[in-house]
Symmetry: C2
Subunit: 251 residues, 2 copies
Amino acid sequence: MPDTVQTPYDPHAYPPFAVTVDVAVFTIRSETLRVLLIERGEEPYKGVWALPGGFVRPDEDLDSAAARELEEETGVTKRGAYLEQLQSYGTPERDPRMRVVTVAYWAVCANLALPKAGGDAIGADLVPVTEVEGGYVRLAFDHNEIVRDALERMRSKLEYTAVGAKFCPPEFTISELRRVYEAAWNMKLDPGNFHRNVRASGSFERLDPERLVERSKGGRPASLWALSEGLRSPRLPIAKRRRFDDDMDEP
Amino acid sequence: MPDTVQTPYDPHAYPPFAVTVDVAVFTIRSETLRVLLIERGEEPYKGVWALPGGFVRPDEDLDSAAARELEEETGVTKRGAYLEQLQSYGTPERDPRMRVVTVAYWAVCANLALPKAGGDAIGADLVPVTEVEGGYVRLAFDHNEIVRDALERMRSKLEYTAVGAKFCPPEFTISELRRVYEAAWNMKLDPGNFHRNVRASGSFERLDPERLVERSKGGRPASLWALSEGLRSPRLPIAKRRRFDDDMDEP
DNA sequence: TCTATTATTGTCAAATATACAAAATTTTAT
DNA sequence: ATAAAATTTTGTATATTTGACAATAATAGA
């Protein structure tokens, strides 16, 4: 810009920032979409629930820092999960200590073990996202906003990618996958139509002529399926987020 | 994590980072989608083309910093453009001077004036994105990657939001809007179907019984349209990115 | 006036989605 | 053992949406 005589800012004084990563880890437990929260053991916000996260190390990539935080809190390595950058948050007052910009990530894990407190956390839990979205759980910093944005991104990605499979173990039935969508979107989906969409998406493949029983409760045994290769974008959406009768919320 | 006796990292030593914003400003000029680039006047990468950007000031919001950079380089205020955060880039070696994390934004402007050099730029230009995507223009830092990601996000948002209208002046014809899509996706769209989709999207409204002529070349005069209110998500996609005969590239 | 050009509306067939029925194959209850 | 219920899977009829393209409208320019 046309810098006049008096420049209000010296571009050579790089203002010092701290940079952190925070990760919204989603999983499904007892038919409920949950987010991993830790209870902070240090000021600021000591004793308050927050997303797992921490400072990016001097020689560490942002993605690596997020993967490290993910593994520290869950024991799950990057290969066993889906991890994607969301966006950054950096209002000047978001951390009372100093100027901190956080790079937020979201992750999806299958069958997350009940987390143990560790590091600077005095507690940890898998909290139903309805409690966060409903405002019943107040999080530290701007983490309520981050969770809201992460949920929106995750729910939207379910429509046109195969990321939903990351909520399941490597081998899963189509009904198990459908229950992922039903928990994440809080709505019922038609089993027949969902089945057809999964097959047509081209993102999944049936495991040989196997059958699965164990999943109790009677009914015809289901075939096992797996992600066909990596996590490519499927040609067709797995499911559209539209209403299907039932007592659940509308989208 | 189960911190053992020897912790490999002291969490109280906040590693100092510099934080910048970089903005990929898109516009359309002579039927061509272009991105605003500046020629750096300072080391590193002096004389190399780069995205406009700069350091976030100590008391400045990230969005404000991006809006400031946008206005400094284009003279366009946030109200006249669309500005959205993309994501952050922070590999340790991306800036040879020091550890810099950049928060990338993308913006859409209508009728951008040919930019003047200013500040730490010795040149500026609106470069066709094909030259950047084709690898004919090598940008400073990781800005080639940022432009690629910004393009992908922008093109994808054209499908299900009304952001394309921001390439046009406040009042525009449906054909002008169609040419935005055609330039951005590098493909022809069927005029009739596009017209129907715009009307059905619910994101635009026709300006009273006005007509427009001036847009030379003969033909029936077109109605003027405008974004109906802010930039909400339309109920229906404006256009699907599928082929329509012609000599342009396939999607 | 006649032709070319662009805008707008309309039409029809193909593709897709939705609702729902039916068949297959198991567990659980009687 | 038999019946009933549950669950997966395939199929089908209808409605909706899309894509291709025709038809009409309204102008500029020759």
